[in-house]
């Protein structure tokens, strides 16, 4: 057993900050918080990364095209810009899709780009963009085309929205643009918001054909990485819940058009998709609740919440039956693994919800989360939504359009009466609420927003966690330091990790990681011998 350094987190913070220039240290100090446990402290989040500090964060375009629109198969996502942006977002997130038939439209294998050249920068790229849209239409006959603006587009003044309107009229299909230039926001979070706005404005509610089903829901903020959505679809089907649409994993624009028929919106990743839930509630009267299907217990809890919301005895009984059946299998697997994972430690720096959700899975394994943080979360994702009114709006947030939504004159329909909602609240079902990550973390845990490369190195060096969770950019750096890294963006080719079967997959993968013997070989035999020789020499 290796002995672990247990350093006081406040001392760790002080030591790390000394390495920064004083201005940077002052700024970073507010983003590093030692969790109090009972009272949630304020953390600085969603502010610009300082130039020259190596960050995990991506750009606005990445959040819009790559994250929110990426996993939807029946839309051509045309990137207006030089070639790199489209290439880099070409299926890199490992989100999967399963069209019902071979002929169903699926453009996810493609990366479309206007591939802007010198002359387009000088003379404007609108003509080329229009031509590219016409081509896309002629070749692929899509029903939907999205246009994504990259950095130079905003600068040279191409109006993608005007082009979208013109081409929509010309071709008679749904075409809409996104002003998601990379420099626009603090991180990919800005891109999520822009994507939410445009999907709401141009897609949601387009199809009024009634949807069959007794318990109709949408799942928001589940991106089908490694097949997570497939597992959740399996569970919903088993308990008899009708999933109209998932924003956005294994998803279609067709299903988004029907989303307003749902009676409940369930939010997984609060950061990337809460805007859509809020807007759907205002316009159509669909309430939303926060759920989490990462972790077997969390999945059971979330299923019970849904049953509670619908208040149907049959559904509640079915949910309990499925939980009992699934949990028996989960418990059996966990029993044999937990002996090896118990009391091990983990850290996770990822996403806008994963760093929170995955703590559940580690809890189930008996592992302790020493430190966690988001890459692009906001204060409400850390401290809970109650702090929203106190969040300062800066220039970067002001950049993103806030669309004004009103109740739909004909289609707004409250799903529950005020009294019903109140009764449910009293029973513990919270609407439009997210408590944030910090309330559920232990006292003394380090919460770090937008962790820098350097801080990550110091964390690993001083706390030596048994597993560090982040993404591929961090992976080999952490592993060079002798600590295994689990990717929670792409799951390292593993998964699914959601739901019951997913939890078991995760237990097995973590067992494998913390039990591997490779670290014993880091030192070669002759290196070990040389130490002995040196001692003799003394």
């Amino acid at each position: 057993m290796k002995t672990k350094v247990t350093m006081d987190p406040e001392r760790w913070k002080a030591e790390v900050l000394t390495k920064y220039p004083s201005k940077v240290a002052k700024k970073r100090a507010k983003s590093i918080v030692v969790n109090e446990g009972d009272e949630v402290k304020q953390i600085q989040a969603n502010i610009r990364t300082i130039p020259g500090i190596i960050t995990q964060r991506g750009c606005t375009y990445a959040g819009c095209k790559g994250v929110v629109l990426g996993p939807t198969r029946d839309i051509i996502n045309l990137v207006h810009g030089p070639i790199g942006c489209s290439f880099y977002a070409w299926l890199t997130r490992r989100n999967q899709t399963l069209p019902p038939t071979e002929d169903s439209p699926n453009f996810m294998m493609y990366s479309f780009s206007t591939d802007m050249q010198d002359s387009n920068i000088v003379f404007g790229g609108e003509t080329k963009l229009k031509q590219a849209i016409r081509e896309a239409f002629e070749i692929f006959k899509p029903k939907n085309i999205g246009i994504f603006s990259t950095c130079p587009v905003g600068l040279i003044g191409d109006d993608v929205h005007a082009v979208a309107r013109e081409m929509k009229a010309e071709l008679g299909i749904n075409i809409f643009g996104f002003s998601c230039e990379g420099y626009k926001g603090v991180s990919q979070s800005a891109g999520h918001h822009i994507a939410n706005n445009q999907i709401f404005k141009h897609v949601v509610g387009l199809n009024d054909t009634p949807v069959e089903g007794k318990f109709k829901v949408n799942l928001l903020g589940e991106y089908n990485i490694g097949g997570d959505a497939f597992e959740l679809e399996r569970i919903f089907e088993k308990v008899g819940i009708t999933l109209i649409s998932t924003f956005s994993g294994n998803s279609t624009i067709d299903s988004f058009e029907l989303a307003h028929h749902a009676d409940l919106n369930m939010i997984m990743c609060h950061r990337s998709i809460n805007y859509l839930a809020e807007m759907m509630e205002t316009k159509f009267g669909i309430p939303w609740i926060k759920v989490n299907f990462i972790g077997a217990d969390a999945t059971a809890k979330s299923l019970r919440k849904i049953a509670q919301y619908f208040g149907d005895a049959g559904l509640a009984a079915k949910v309990e039956e499925v939980i009992a059946e699934e949990m028996a299998l989960v418990a059996k697997e966990l029993e044999s693994i937990k002996a090896r994972t118990q009391d091990k430690t983990a850290m996770m720096f990822v996403g806008g919800s994963r760093a929170h959700h995955y703590q559940e899975l580690f809890n189930e394994l008996g592992m302790k989360t020493l430190s966690a943080g988001y890459e692009f979360g906001h204060r409400d994702d850390y401290e809970g939504r109650r702090v929203i009114p106190t969040i300062q709006v800066d220039a970067d947030s002001r950049n993103i359009e806030e669309i004004h939504v009103e109740a739909d004159p004909t289609r707004y329909k409250p799903r529950k009466t005020e009294a019903e909602l109140k009764a449910l609240e009293e029973q513990g079902l919270k609407f439009s609420e997210y408590e944030g990550m910090m309330t559920e973390m232990e006292k003394g845990a380090l919460v770090i927003d937008d962790i820098s490369h350097y801080e990550m190195e110091k964390l690993v060096e001083m706390y030596e966690p048994d597993v560090f969770c982040a993404g591929i950019k961090e992976k080999y750096c952490v592993q060079k330091m002798g600590i295994p890294l689990k990717q929670l963006h792409s799951y390292d080719y593993g998964g699914p990790y959601a739901g019951f079967e997913g939890a078991v997959n995760f237990y097995k993968d973590i067992d494998m990681i913390v039990s591997t013997s490779i670290w014993k070989m880091v030192k070669a035999p002759w290196q070990k011998e040389s130490v002995i020789e040196a001692e003799y020499a003394l």
Binding site: K19, P51, T55, G84, Q131, C151, Y183, K473
Partner: protein, 463 residues
Amino acid sequence: MELAIKKTETFTSTRNACKLCSPLGASLVFKGIEGCIPMIHGSQGCATYIRRYMISHYKEPVDIASSNFSEETTIYGGNKNFCTGIDNVRHMYNPAVIGIASTCLSETIGEDIPRLIREYAQLHEGEQIPVFIHASTPSYQGSHMDGFHETVLSAVASLANEGATSKQINIFSGFISPADIRYIKEICDDFGVEYMVFPDYSDTLDNPHWKDYQLIPEGGTPVAQIQNAANAIASIEFGTIMNKLVSTSKSSVAHTAGEWLEKHHSVPNTRMPLPIGIEASDVFFKTLETISGIPTPRHHARERGRLVDAYVDGHKYVFGKRAIVFGEEDMVLSMVAFLHEIGIETVLAGSGGESNSLKKEIDALTSGLYPNMIVMNNLDFETINEMVDELKPDIFIGNSKGYYIARRLKKPIVRIGFPIHDRFGAQRLHHIGYRGTQELFDRIVNALIEYKQEHSPVGYKYI
């Protein structure tokens, strides 16, 4: 009369590009300089995406800083972000060199990076500041290869200076794998010559496991060697296409580092295709012999002999097969010549590169023996996908991005070049010289045998 070959439509948009953007090429070269941290002047997303892509291929830490433009920066200019970025990189890494690549964003707003560097140096006069290298790499000009060669040229042009004569041989090895670079160094060591391989990312992008974490990974071409390039006895350049498109459009006097050294410092330059195949490798070894006056060491001569032996033993598996080759132009060119050498006919050779000289170069290298070969510049994968059924290929040779086409056709794909993110060990693949050719030959033969074996109705164990 209708043409026998179906006319290929040229499209405005690119569907599944067969090229990456030029700041990625610049970042690769910066990773090949000792003590260097790259910084991308533009949006933070560019640094993140490029890191992400390089890391998934090399499976190594890749630190690239960014000056992190905001909307405000795009209006008022990047001066402040540039200075803060450099200050922070210096503070955290204390690098010997900072390599700065521009992006479409900074180039569009007209950032004058040489001026920013000058001003920074003035502001910090008297301090020990890093060496700055700047490459102009807007992604709307050319591909990652143009960015790569542009950066090699600008590093040499800004650092090389005349001094005492030296015995150094400059080797500008182009975009090859870390294993390839290590092999070139081994060859030069065995010849016993003084040499510089630039860029040398053989360690920085493929390091052993460390006992203590290295903020800046060891390895890379030392700045002193790049400075000394002006005094070298000769330069060798791999690649005959290089950055033709961009250098022509900029009408620079010299296109490449080798040319520049020849013009400005009279260092004789020998340019040759990437040495893939026996003939091409012979040219490389012969050139080393001529420059050094030393015969090829026995060790390498025997490697050549074994390769010939393998060609003899393996020809029956490969002869007459039809291949589709795609990737970087110089890699495609040399691969086609190698396939010609082993009797595989390339039916389609393509690249997203924009030099428009791939066909001419291939014809020259294969003595015009394949008039029906489709050779395409500005190519994207979907164009290959549309043409491929008629071409009836037996094998695909190129990077991971072509996998979906091979999968549709249920044909083998041998992965070479960049990016390879659906197989393990890309950084350790050899492509060049007798050793690299041997490895490639074995992989191609085995891919074809495996295919035949899997599709045989009877199954067999002996070959």
